[in-house]
Symmetry: D2
Subunit: 371 residues, 4 copies
């Protein structure tokens, strides 16, 4: 069985996320990066291609070039991975889907909700898979948490708190990664809410199996001169009226990437922290507190499948990311078992951003999250 062939869009010089995608994609040796449009500048795309050690003729200047050339090759790419800023997502995905090439995309799905609707229609009409890299859903213990909730270990859910504190934009946007994220022309209408708020939303829904039905958003641009939100708090109501809080911020100085999810039910509760991803705290109704560790025996099939090392050998962000690639490869091969998010999650994330941004600006109180 041959390795799947991947073309990357974005991820060129200075990009944080490109090399991450490359490592994650190839970690299990089931996927190979063979082509790319690493930059909208042809020369820079060549430089990046050389750094990735791909054949120079397959480091393209435009997405159209790549699609045309790769579809003409007998060993052309099986899918594209989109790692460019948000405003490129739709056009890149459109081009690939139109050529019958599968798409795995960075979140959020697009730059605007309108674009997401268009993309959803394109995906629905296509015959190939579309996936979204909500990375944190790839952690073994996130999948364990999801399996436990689904199995009823927490009883009826009552309360969810998801928070995502970062501090790297507390002091002005420095560097390429920061700059596009605070620029509405490239990031879209959402700043922090689109960059990390959607991660928090997805994680909460992924693990709880519930959906946010209503929300009350309070977003602000705290750093002087910034036009997009950098600090968000959102009150939530999930399916069945389950109460929730979502906090996402990029001005919490000193915080790195402190995504944390707590879910409380009638019979148990769980607590997971991204910066210590190999532990999952469970509270039981009888008062016992238990700590699960990734790689241990006794975990669910989903968690076991998502670990590559035994307990005590820490796995991290790259391995979680690789689990999404592995899932996507399964989809491409028509195998079952993928947990990678799809266009429905993408549309939902865009609706969340759009709803939260507009509701916050209008001070609209509680509003429905539709879709």
């Amino acid at each position: 069985m041959r390795r799947l062939r991947m073309g990357m869009i974005g991820g060129g010089p200075g990009a944080f996320i490109g090399p991450i995608h490359r490592i994650a994609a190839e970690l299990d040796r089931d996927i190979e990066l063979v082509a790319g449009v690493f930059s909208s500048d042809a020369g820079r795309s060549q430089v990046a291609g050389a750094a990735y050690r791909i054949d120079p003729v397959r480091a393209y200047a435009t997405v159209a070039d790549m699609i045309a050339a790769e579809t003409a090759r007998p060993d052309g790419i099986d899918f594209v991975t989109i790692a460019s800023p948000n405003h490129h997502h739709l056009s890149a995905a459109r081009a690939a889907l139109a050529a019958g090439i599968a798409v795995l995309s960075d979140k959020p799905a697009t730059a605007t909700l309108a674009e997401a609707h268009e993309l959803a229609a394109l995906v629905a009409a296509a015959d190939v898979p579309y996936g979204l890299t909500y990375t944190y859903s790839g952690y073994p213990l996130v999948r364990e948490a999801r399996a436990r909730v689904a199995a009823g270990a927490l009883g009826t859910l009552r309360r969810i708190v998801v928070e995502y504190p970062q501090g790297w934009l507390a002091t002005g946007a420095r560097g390429k990664q920061a700059e596009w994220r605070v620029d509405p022309a490239r990031a879209g209408d959402g700043g922090c809410i689109a960059d990390i708020g959607v991660h928090a939303l997805h994680l909460a829904e992924f693990v709880s199996g519930l959906r946010v039905e209503r929300l009350l958003a309070d977003l602000a641009a705290v750093v002087p001169g910034r036009s997009l939100d950098d600090d968000c708090q959102v009150l939530l109501r999930f399916t069945g009226g389950v109460r929730g809080t979502l906090i996402a911020s990029q001005i919490m100085l000193g915080e790195r990437n402190a995504l944390r999810l707590r879910i409380y039910g009638t019979d148990g509760a769980l607590d997971w922290r991204q910066e210590s991803p190999n532990a999952l705290t469970l509270h039981h109704a009888d008062g016992r507190t238990e700590i699960l560790r990734a790689g241990d025996g006794g975990l669910s099939a989903d968690a076991v499948a998502a670990s590559r090392t035994p307990g005590g050998h820490p796995e991290g962000y790259l391995e979680a990311f690789a689990n999404l690639y592995r899932d996507f490869a399964r989809q491409l091969r028509g195998e079952p078992g993928s947990l990678v998010p799809g266009i429905a999650d993408g549309l939902r994330g865009m609706a969340f951003i759009d709803t939260a941004v507009r509701a916050s600006r209008a001070d609209a109180g509680w509003v429905a999250l539709e879709i």
Copy 2:
């Protein structure tokens, strides 16, 4: 210099908080419990008095009895401590103040905002101190945090998150302590918000030096059949527009008493957790993370004064509580340096409860917190 003489109101058989008050009051040997109305039942008051080893004639059946008898004694009480359910707070304080006896009271100050206004007038007219036991403000590292913020270590404050998760009321109110807290006749209009939400509010204001000016409250009674709120989330705006989140809940199964405060500024941030009270995390603008420990050298005068043991010898809740008693004793003696909250804090707490309860019921959106 003789020990100050204390009379206790409440704290009888089955009460959690009575023995705590007794230990805290006497910890530094500067105060002595000599009298009490430990129960509204005379026999039970006698039993409690014997357990506390006080003179049987000073275990009274009513507050009026105690005030009358103690004021007639040459060695009568110097102050009362009020440890009874909320609906008794006003009448007890009124009786003491009317007799010129100082009052140290459990929070919240009263059962309703109207009562708090009445009490504030009584305190203003009295010649004796009135204090409130917002216990958590007595921890050495809470005082250190306050001192650092006041000294500008965090720069301009931007964002505050205070949370107070508990789980003990997740499964129905069992026992004396739980029962009155979920009964509007004894607790007042606020459940969780009045029991622990005010602690969170006070801690945030005490450390930050800011005041909540506006809030948006989302309170609910999650456990079926409960009439008072048991789960609260409140969006905040502090002085100068500083953004805040307050979460308080008593249905977060598995949580004990996980009060936590985070404050983020332009130049630093801090993080304190009540269940590990002897550590304070500081984030500096240059990226360094520092851990302070109670009892260490180099702390502020307020923190040093609040510790009784060297670093590494854990102090806890009782010692924090004792720090409030020590402060109150200073006030009684006319000495400076007390950090014990007073009636202004009490009135403010009641306004917070009242505003949050009413705004949540009315789904009123953002409302002002006056007083």
Copy 3:
């Protein structure tokens, strides 16, 4: 039932441990400090007595004075607590025991093993209790750990690691507390091994229920110019050949009081840390890791009895200390249930110090720990 009356020996101005003893003794209102020889200097003893608020006539200049005066009073002391440096322990205990007054003493029991033998004979001949304040055995979760081991929760024990890192003597002895501890004339033959090594030994034996039968000691004075050991490592064999390691050091810069005990058996393991005393980690044979919290339901009777607050309200060093005083009070009243260590533990501790010091000096390899 009246409060027991305590006389303190030592604990005068500048002493760390005197006020600690006073607080611990009086915490439960079952004991009262009424007299003392707080310093060998009469004037300083008076000053200390005033600070403790005791009757000036009961602040004595010598132990003999106190014993004579107190035995002549109808309300004389019931016991003495010895909080002076090690070289005073024997003479103070001898004087009290000779007068039929019970003794609670700081560890180690005496300054030398020969003194300990003499003291053991005196205690055996006396009609009153003798106790030793191995403080750490007073923590609720230490008692829980002991109860679990005794109930077989760990199966057959196999391996014990006890460590006690401190750093306060890393940079020369500053202050009264440090000075006598590094002076052989006042501390005896052991430095770190006598100051904290015996705590580690006692904790390991108290929880495991085993006894050290053989040891191999490697002690050294690391700080230049110091004559007593300040860094110790000791290999152990407990009853039945169970293997152990004991590390105690006062030159581990940055460590405060990081006493930690781990015990591993065939069916489980436990891990307790003094600086986070309210948590106890249990490893089960089926791979589960469980965290117990002081104050929780479901703990053993010994642990429940040793807690004064519900879960989540941290108790610390002072409360652990108070548990020893409470136990000792029970003994004085002839009540059962005391876990306070006695002269056998004292003699054993001195044998451990003596054996370790001599074996280390002689590079003697494995030696027996007799007594």
Copy 4:
């Protein structure tokens, strides 16, 4: 610049370490697995080769076959990685070196000290690099720790504690990984000491820059019926008389892979734990405690080079392992900057095992660690 071509020896079906080596080797896309002798059984080697997706003709039955065939190819392997049990290490390395093929080997270098001497001579005579995968030296914060010590941040070193608790062999050896480790015919004379004790030794020496000069070993086989040691404690003297303790155990039930290193100096101290590898605790002489995080700014060049993600995105065991492969690739290309251990470390590790095993059996007390 082409990718380096790797042949693997060992790592076939059921092996834990084979896939780990493959992922680590290829993580940075600078090395490619192209050949292997994955099992001494030809059929199993084929199966493994297929799982690794290598060309079937390059899945060999014997090392000799692989060396012969690969040296004959224009695109033959650049180096072998040895991931087989210890008793195969020497013969595999000998065959590769004889053919001028570089070797990267699992630790320990060989099964016996005599073999290590032979190997050292072969390496000395060869023109190609030889490296050893002491994985834990690849963690960014281990390299940070090393850089800080080298820069004098801790002052003069005084005390080292390194411990490596595992529990997976507490209950009998189950599975392929366990079986050979407890079998002297395959593992050599050392059990736990050879499997993980050498990791602990290497880590301590790597970070401290010191060398163990003398040791006192206490090794035992605790699990009934086992002939090789499974629980080790070793007292150490490093260069200059610096005192140390090394604990390694595989019968500490409930422990996964809790390698931890503490180093104390006159001016500072550090503490690192493998199971939370992205944090490094530093104690400063002025009492401050600081927490460093991998991926943060301000770290040493070595630490920065060893991270692939920004702070807060956890990296783990696989990435640490990949850092060793990256270093080894540098050596193969003649580039500077490699920190991968070499034959000197390998010989030293074997001397440590041999010395500790023999000294413990003979109860020899302190002995020199030569080489």
